[in-house]
Symmetry: C2
């Protein structure tokens, strides 16, 4: 509290001179505008004050030209004599005029706007994708709107509806999903509706739920990434690897599980050696599932490594292992997925699969904007790679290993 008074006392001398004086000047500008309009404008102006925006009419009156001229000067699409131009710009500045985007959109092509729909903004992975979309959109001079569904289908539907109403030209749906019939229907509908109005749907980090819908798909090769990290574990000598954090039906997770199983099979391990814990995503899910797993085995786990469905699950797994008095990687190796920004600060630094999330977002926009006609229906796969840190080492000798597969690698 003392800070405020302190800060103000310190910085306010300057503020007085600059900001405060500015505010007054601006206020005067408005008053002046109201009093100086012509007949018709003046009438409106009297009803002004709070809640009325300055319109092009007022700028025209003040500049002594028609609204057409103001429009032309401000949009900058026409040649205009310097004198007229100056008068208009001056009037606009004095009134602090900003065009009404709605009126403009109604007649023109509308604002170039892209909407990113994520489950939640606080998820580091989604945030990175959103940042990528935004960065790329900004590059092209487009506005980017980020919206969160909270995982609720109804809200997702409302958001897309909203985007259609607002005239978004590009809607990007981000992240893996559980594909049920309702979902397939919904997305097919989005794609069709957006396409019918000349807008575009991009599925980012998830496949097309039905073939031949007018949507662009950009996703990571989850199966390949999972295969690679599982192989990494296998080459370190692990044979009993548990996958914690599956989410049955979810496109991204199912693909990772598939990659995990494929790697196991390729190394000659029987299908039964796969152990998938379907506990879903999130730190707390990982913590809970791993705690249970450790408890079941009564201190002598029958596995030597854990493949966490994503880095947040890995965080929970790490905590559970520590809480059980075990060490990573000495007793149990752990790998994650995504390489979230703080994964290198985990204890120990996490070995994981780097999915260039921001690039995924950028690619979504770039591809959709390039050759719009042809983009729909294409499917792009982005590569990933392993980031080796300190959470993996060869399994310890002991019962866990002995009852695993053949320790040949």
């Amino acid at each position: 509290m003392g800070k405020n008074t302190g800060a103000e006392a310190a910085g306010q001398g300057q503020a007085e001179a600059a900001g405060q004086g500015r505010a007054e000047a601006a206020g005067q500008g408005r008053a002046e505008a109201a009093g100086q309009g012509r007949a018709e404008a003046a009438t409106k102006a009297s009803a002004a004050g709070q809640g009325r925006r300055v319109t092009i009419r007022e700028v025209a009156d003040r500049a002594g030209v028609s609204i057409a001229t103001v429009s032309r000067v401000l949009s900058g699409n026409y040649e205009t004599p310097a004198a007229t131009r100056a008068r208009v710009l001056r009037a606009a500045r004095e009134l602090d005029y900003v065009a009404n985007a709605h009126a403009r959109a109604l007649v023109g092509a509308g604002r170039k706007m892209v909407a990113v729909v994520v489950r939640q903004v606080t998820s580091p992975f989604y945030a990175q994708v959103a940042e990528g979309v935004e960065a790329e959109a900004a590059t092209h001079g487009w506005l980017c709107l980020v919206a969160a569904t909270g995982g609720d289908a109804q809200r997702e539907l409302e958001i897309v509806q909203l985007m259609r109403e607002e005239g978004a030209r590009l809607v990007v749906l981000v992240g893996g999903v559980v594909e049920d019939d309702a979902y397939r229907e919904r997305v097919a509908h989005y794609a069709q509706a957006l396409d019918a109005s000349g807008a575009r749907l991009v599925l980012c980090g998830r496949p097309a739920p039905v073939p031949d819908i007018p949507a662009l798909v950009v996703e990571f090769d989850n199966e390949a990434g999972a295969h690679a990290i599982t192989s990494h574990l296998l080459s370190a000598g692990h044979r009993r690897i548990v996958f914690v954090g599956a989410l049955s039906g979810n496109t991204a997770l199912d693909a990772r599980v598939a990659g995990y199983r494929a790697a196991l099979a390729e190394h000659g391990l029987p299908a039964e050696s796969a152990h998938v814990v379907d506990c879903g995503l999130g730190r707390s899910a990982g913590l809970r599932a791993m705690t249970a797993l450790l408890k079941e085995s009564g201190g002598a786990p029958d596995f030597t490594a854990v493949f966490a469905g994503d880095d947040m699950v890995a965080a929970g797994v790490l905590r559970a292992v520590a809480d059980a008095g075990l060490r990573v990687p000495e007793d149990i190796s752990v790998v994650g997925y995504n390489d979230v920004p703080l994964a290198e600060d985990f204890d120990p630094p996490l070995t994981t699969v780097r999915t260039p999330a921001e690039e995924l977002g950028r690619a979504a926009v770039r591809l959709a904007l390039r050759d719009p006609e042809h983009a729909a229906g294409t499917h792009h796969l982005l590569g990933t790679h392993i980031v080796v840190r300190d959470s993996v080492q060869p399994p310890p000798p002991g019962p866990a290993l002995s009852d695993g597969g053949s320790p040949t690698a």
Copy 2:
């Protein structure tokens, strides 16, 4: 509004067979609509195909009523005979009509929209605040738009301009800032301009740069939080505490430094005992600064604890300490600020100050929406508290302690 048609669209989807079938059916609906419109509509329809949205006119024609009736049925503000109502709804559904938000905004009050402006969405703290704003906005049926400035004043200005154009009724500027004259002027202008058009500006996590501007302020008591965590370090016996991650001129950081200094002074330590490293925020800044600090002291640091400007800086500090072969908290204690989601997963789990970021965002919206007239100009301070984890313990005996203050506490 969209709610009506949206729900209906969903309902219809289920009625239809499956995703794919749905898409086809919808496609037919469009074709049918084009071919079945009346004279004028038919003309337009021929130019249709890609890029044309269905309008209220077409719905009216198909339902055999006037556009006024369609408007009334869809907006749901008027009583309508069931028969008419059914015909209109049916037509709207068949054409998959969504109202043009711009046209609607032009005549009506406009969509209730709040914009959150943050530095970047990938910062966990900002993301949490944004999520709070969004959650609270959703509660009130408002749309929430998240935009990022990347720390660029020009972009911030453009975003606010954009929000004015779009008719946002609430603009929330999030996070501490470096207050220079240009900034003060800018914000005073935003406040005035927004206020003049009946919109509202909320400064969230930063003070008002000039007194008496029409803006609502909601922020944390940074000085109190910093004072508390510094005292925590002092009570553990630390006397040589370095503040790493100051950002001179930044409102939030200056307040934290002030709280740090105040706590030191209250414990009877001389002003010189304060050591502030002005390296700015971010993990890499913390890593770099701490590495340099450790290097300077050649293995025998003249401090026993570090107060990191925020948790990301703390992550960098932790890494630097580990890289130098020292341990936290045995050799050096470290505390952060904000209690970012993964702070408990740091090595060791970080003792820090919990700033309820989501609540800050919620409060911003709640306060702005409640009693709008009176809200402007008020200033709210939210409390914080210390979260004790494992990164602090009494300082080790040795040179660092001996040349500190008197070890009495």
